[in-house]
Amino acid sequence: MSANGQGEHLSSSLPKITRRQLLAGAGAAAVAGSIGLAQPAAAESTMRGGASALPVPSPIPGGIDAPPVGFIHWFLPGPTDAMTPFLSLPGFGLDVEPSTLTNFKGFTTFAVISGQATGSDGKTYNVEFDVRVMDGEYVAEDGSHQYGTFGFL
């Protein structure tokens, strides 16, 4: 419960959900309706010139096992005699896929950048970031051809 500057409790302006509504199992729909997220009759009804998103790309088929996460669709380009400064990951070589998207044609940048950062706690930290950008055409998971810019961060 919060109050505005005029001493009025803002909670009194929120829609009321009754206990009966929740117990009747209509609570989810009632809550969704009360906060403007009513179930659409069809997918198109939500797209009123508002939210949109690029179709999901597919990951490269290859990758490595990375405990405790498991298999990750990722390779690390870089000289095999070099290691990242803080994670100490060895480069996999130079003929190594930098993109994390498959079915992709376009421009890719890759870098492992490192240095130091200052935290709000006053401490200095070592930082290492693997940053990539894939910009171009891709065939999405749904089979559609798309153009987009994706970042691996």
Binding site: G62, P98, V112, I113, Y125, V127, E137
Partner: protein, 142 residues
């Protein structure tokens, strides 16, 4: 981020992993990335991009965070053919074909989350490796 005294990882900011396995990859805002000089210069500028903070790789924890960054790539050599294309097994790291130039990369990154924020000094790729170029993989190899 790593504690310099212990070397322990203290922060791990990523876009997460999609159900289809797409790893730490997300769509970027329009106009965040620019390529110049026939692919020899590229710049990534992000402001308050939402990410997930999991503190350590694979921790299972997740809180909201955001990052900003301004990074510049610049080709440091000639574009060289890379990858083995369709001749490689699709799961091979070489299953792509492209023309890449070794590159320099420099810039800064800052971030914030509940209870913590950070700002980097200049970050560079000097300690490891960077590259940039055109490539194709998957169905675009046939």
């Amino acid at each position: 981020m790593f504690d310099p005294s212990s070397g322990s990882q203290t922060r791990d900011l990523t876009p997460g992993i999609l159900p289809n396995g797409l790893f730490w990859t997300m769509a970027l805002p329009d106009n965040a990335f620019r390529i110049r000089r026939k692919g020899r210069v590229a710049r990534l500028k992000l402001r308050n991009l939402p990410l997930v903070e999991s503190f350590q790789f694979g921790s299972g924890q997740a809180i909201a965070a955001k990052v900003s960054m301004d990074l510049l790539w610049y080709a440091a050599g000639d574009f060289i053919e890379r990858g083995e294309g369709a001749a490689a097994d699709p799961t091979s790291p070489a299953a792509f074909t492209g023309h890449f130039a070794e590159a320099g990369c420099a810039g800064w990154i800052s971030g914030s989350e509940t209870g913590f924020a950070f700002e980097s000094g200049e970050l560079t790729a000097e300690a490891f490796f960077a590259e940039m170029g055109e490539e194709r993989n998957g169905v675009f190899l046939s």
